[in-house]
Amino acid sequence: MSDWKIYGQLYWAFLRIGGLTFGGGLSMLPMLKYELVEKKQWLTEEELLDCYAIGQCTPGIIAVNTATFVGYKKKGVAGGIVSTLGMVTPSLIIITLIAACLENFMSNPWLQHALMGVRGIVCALMINTVINLAGKSLVDVFTCVICAAVLAICLLTDLPTILIVVVSALLGILFERLKKRGKGGKT
């Protein structure tokens, strides 16, 4: 198979995945499995789960990370780029169209009323997301302390978000090292 044909296939596969899944991230896994493992057989299910795990613990959009990883495995750097562009295309087209339409109707009072109702829904959904996240990420005293401290810092000060992410990563490493040393001392 010629290189161009493989690039085309990668682009098209990720364009479909991006254009047909809602909610991104977690809801994308079944679609990824169907397209990449079952239909194309580019990867085994285990390899896909590895890509996905790495996509989750690296910075950036999980779906994009996974797309880059799969594309890279299949066809090197160019493959990673082509897959990512495929993933980006549907969002760009759909959102631009919606934004352009909304812009023209923004002064319409009906739309204003509708958006007020929608904002209430957004709040409820986002609060629910936070509760789910907390359930997954607060697993012991250390994680609870970090969460409470960061929440207080966010509400009371104006520290840059980037700084908070970096410091908390360092604290995680420090904590694990101290824990290991503590265990080493006991035995």
């Binding site: 991006g18 809602f22 909610g23 991104g24 991230g25 790495i54 989750q56 613990c57 690296t58 910075p59 950036g60 959009i61 779906a63 994009v64 990370n65 750097v77 990673g80 990512t84 993933m87 980006v88 549907p90 969002s91 760009l92 759909i94 959102i95 631009t96 919606i98 352009a100 509708a114 958006l115 007020m116 109702g117 929608v118 904002r119 209430g120 829904i121 957004v122 709040c123 409820a124 986002m126 609060i127 997301t129 936070v130 996240l133 990420s137 607060l138 994680t143 970090i146 409470a148 401290a149 960061v150 929440l151 840059p160 978000t161 980037i162 992410v165 908390s168 360092l170 995680g172 490493i173």
Partner: protein, 185 residues
């Protein structure tokens, strides 16, 4: 021309530091709403609704919408490319040099700190979002937007019912929009 680079750079930074996918971009987008004249907090709420009810990854939808608000079609394109570029670089490096990246003890330990911190960052962002969406602010005085509040409380209750939880968010947004129109919120 300058704003093009500014958009690219701001979203590049978000792509580099937002760990945890779509929702993790929210605190950064909120910072931008306050720091730059590109979009308001109210528009950010609309942005979330639109991003959640259209296909595609949440973070990408948000960056496209934010970029569009700032600079039209070009803005959407530049913001999204800025957002994904760090991903491409980091993932290629990891795939090339670090076979077992997610098994690495340092990475695991770092995530022990990052995960709860990101939860708190998102929680703080959501609190601010609720303040903007559920209260009307006039001359520094907050007054509750009763309609939106009732919608939020009812919705939150509905989400706690397991059988209803799996419906697509677009359905809820539609119902919210109808309520908004009917009750003239």
């Amino acid at each position: 021309m300058e704003i093009v680079w500014e958009l690219f750079w701001e979203f590049f930074k978000i792509g580099l530091f937002a760990v945890g996918g779509g929702p993790a971009t929210l605190p950064f987008l909120m910072d931008l709403a306050q720091k730059k004249p590109w979009y308001t907090m109210g528009q950010l709420t609309d942005m979330i609704a639109i991003s959640e009810s259209t296909p595609g990854p949440l973070g990408l939808n948000m960056s496209t919408y934010a970029g569009y608000q700032a600079l039209g079609i070009r803005g959407g394109l530049v913001s999204s490319l800025g957002l994904v570029l760090p991903s491409v670089i980091i993932i290629v490096l990891i795939a090339k040099f670090l076979e077992n990246f997610n098994e690495n003890p340092y990475v695991k330990a770092a995530f022990k700190g990052i995960r709860p911190a990101v939860t708190a960052l998102i929680a703080a962002a959501v609190l601010r979002l609720c303040r903007v969406s559920l209260f009307a602010e006039a001359e520094g005085v907050l007054s509750p937007a009763v309609g939106s509040m009732i919608v939020a409380v009812v919705m939150f209750g509905v989400l706690q019912i397991k059988q209803l939880n799996r419906f697509h968010p677009a359905l809820w947004f539609l119902i919210g929009a109808l309520a908004g129109v009917i009750f003239q919120m």
